[in-house]
Symmetry: C2
Subunit: 406 residues, 2 copies
């Protein structure tokens, strides 16, 4: 059997796997418990309204009247309608529930959506970037060769303090452009005008934008768009991936959704083809949807009661982020993001590479961060901290980091 050479040639392990290995190697001899500000996993339990709906639906599954078999591949109508009503209508965005596809995770969708495109589709990402976008496309053979830490066919759009973390438009024609705002890993956002520039570009060049809005719940300023569909024309060029993971603490529940508007078309041999229809066909063939009790729990997160509870959780994480920003800025570090996002991006002190500073914080402060270079070449010399731990542990981690910096 002849194997996938691109998959076999993948460099190193997945970033968070490598971090896990270093932590496991160090942890047994650590002088005090390690504090995790690394992987973006939440720490607060499910909110009461969500737990209650989840437990009720779990019980239903054990009864003849309440048992649910195969879910609709695209998601239950009750959840798709709730998403349209609770997440989009308040923004003035009108969507049809048939434009909503419920899935088991934004990672699943952001890595599978490129399959809508031609096999030799050209891909652009911001740099630094969530590594799963790049790895999934590399495995599928869309990125060419890996040389000197870069993919020959991947277009990188660097984001750094010099351009205020606002990427340039791609310098050459691409088929697919990934944008994630609020950004992972930098925690920065785009204003309406900055995002509109990308939509205009995509309309002019017929480029598909994959807009990852997994962190939209962290935006507190109405001037910053929560959805790309707040920009006129975006429904003709963009799919949008959202998740309950960071808004409702669903990292362990696995429920997300992707919007594929009916107005969105691409080309096959000069013909115009609906991406909504193609994605529906692909979804029906390749998966069997999300468990009924999980979808009931997700719908509860969108109810008025659930919403109030998860908003309080998000505010607690934002308080952590703001505290990290204030504290590290006070210590003289250059710090970015962390205002409308659960991620803080900091420049490593002079002379430290990303992995050097990661190892230093692990070994001296017993704090796990994420090395910026793991997110792309422009991430070198930076580190990502997450706001998902408790207020107490976050404060203790900051105290330890300050002690190391002194």
């Amino acid at each position: 059997m002849r194997l996938n050479a691109c998959l076999a040639a993948m460099p190193g392990g997945y970033l968070f796997g490598e971090i896990g290995r270093r932590v496991r190697a160090y942890e047994p001899g650590a002088p005090r418990p390690i504090i995790h500000l690394g992987i973006g996993d939440v720490s607060q339990p499910l909110a009461p309204a969500i737990t209650e709906a989840f437990v009720r639906a779990a019980r239903e599954m054990g009864t003849p009247q309440g048992f649910h078999g195969y879910p609709p591949e695209q998601g239950y109508p009750f959840l798709r309608q709730a998403i349209v009503d609770a997440d989009y209508a308040p923004l003035g965005v009108r969507l049809d529930p048939d434009e909503v596809f419920v899935s088991d995770g934004a990672k699943t969708d952001t890595s599978a959506l490129p399959e809508l495109l031609a096999p030799d589709a050209r891909v652009a990402v911001t740099d630094p970037v969530y590594p799963a976008y790049v790895d999934a496309n590399a495995m599928a053979g869309r990125l060419g060769r890996h040389e000197n830490g870069e993919w020959s066919d991947l277009v990188l759009l660097p984001c750094h303090p010099g351009n205020g973390f606002v990427p340039e438009l791609p310098g050459r024609q691409v088929d697919l452009l990934y944008l994630c705002y609020p950004n992972n890993p930098t925690g920065t956002v785009l204003t309406r005008a900055q995002l509109a520039r990308f939509v205009e570009y995509a309309l002019e060049t017929r480029t598909l934008i994959l807009f990852d809005a997994a962190y939209k719940a962290y935006i507190t300023d109405p001037a910053i768009p929560r959805s790309i569909y707040e920009i006129p024309g975006a429904q003709q060029v963009a799919v949008e991936c959202c998740s309950f993971s960071k808004s409702a603490g669903f990292t362990g529940m696995r429920c997300a959704y992707t919007i594929v508007p009916k107005a969105l078309t691409g080309e096959v041999d000069g013909r115009s083809v609906s991406l909504n229809a193609l994605w529906a066909r692909r979804v029906a063939c390749r998966q069997n949807g999300v468990a009924y009790p999980i979808q009931r729990a997700a719908a509860a997160a969108l109810s008025p009661e659930g919403r109030a509870q998860v908003d309080a959780q998000v505010r607690a994480y934002l308080d952590n982020a703001h505290r990290i920003v204030r504290t590290l800025q006070g210590a003289g570090l250059e710090v970015f993001g962390g205002i409308h996002a659960p991620y803080v991006w900091l420049r490593t002190p002079e002379g430290h590479s990303s992995w050097d500073f990661f190892d230093l914080l692990l070994h001296e402060a017993q704090v796990v961060a994420t090395p910026g270079s793991g997110f792309g070449p422009a991430g070198e010399g930076h580190l990502r901290l997450t706001a998902f731990n408790s207020a107490e542990r976050t404060q203790e981690a900051l105290d330890r980091i300050l002690a190391v910096l002194r």
Copy 2:
């Protein structure tokens, strides 16, 4: 944006989508309630031991101590160990938990596993066959052109009464051979010697076998292998996909697992490469695992108490299957399968195509079956009935069918 021409050129809808459309069009004017013996969805609620474990884990998610965030991508160790101990050790098959990959469905895995292979990998399937195998490979561009209802690059291995539903070996070299036993849709099985012939062939020709054992719980004769790994050497050539859907009534829960043995290697540029390592890399990059409460429920299905309860459910479905076989044979129909499987495969009465007979049963008996031609060219002139309804509804469906046949 240039789209995936293979996906855009997919013929028709997914089989069960087309059946759903015909049923929805007919149902409003139907003279009595429709009975579904079509799609293979279970009807009994979750067993008590499973529901209890599921509800307990759902409650845990709402507590600070019991909350679980991101699951391990490959599955929780407690579930992978339970699978090794409960599903394989009793068969004399020794597996390491690292060879078990928990996922959200066998459909997800059977359609994604070809991504381990070279982009131009040649694929073989039995005919008739579960359509998702074919569609997933067609969308990914592995099957060539679709002409006169057949794919130019797909190798079909016909199964029919003439060969006792035992496929021939592929007539030309392929990289991947799908085998599903107990078979969907024909309900037939392979003896140990018949399966061993395929393993020998795969060892000689270095072919990857994707063995779909989703229906193994329906085998009651120990002489018939439940796992391909009961055949010596199979760990060098086969992956095995299993599911809790039909063994434990998990169609609405979404939990399955795939075995990728460490002894299994393929070739990249003449080098030998581990498929287990490649699949682990792919899984870590493209998904985030299965919800903790769902995995707890799955583990409960493998506990002694849960096992006894789900075995009773399986016996009830098997009783239905045996009743369908006896009744339709008694009415003079040619009937296959249905002994070690929840599926019965019958030859349509003289002069009826598969879809003709499907429409006849829908309109005259208000019974939904699945037309055999939807499973491939060799399925024409046949129909699949499933045993997943209640005993009462199954009996009523049979009474109605007999009335139509008279």
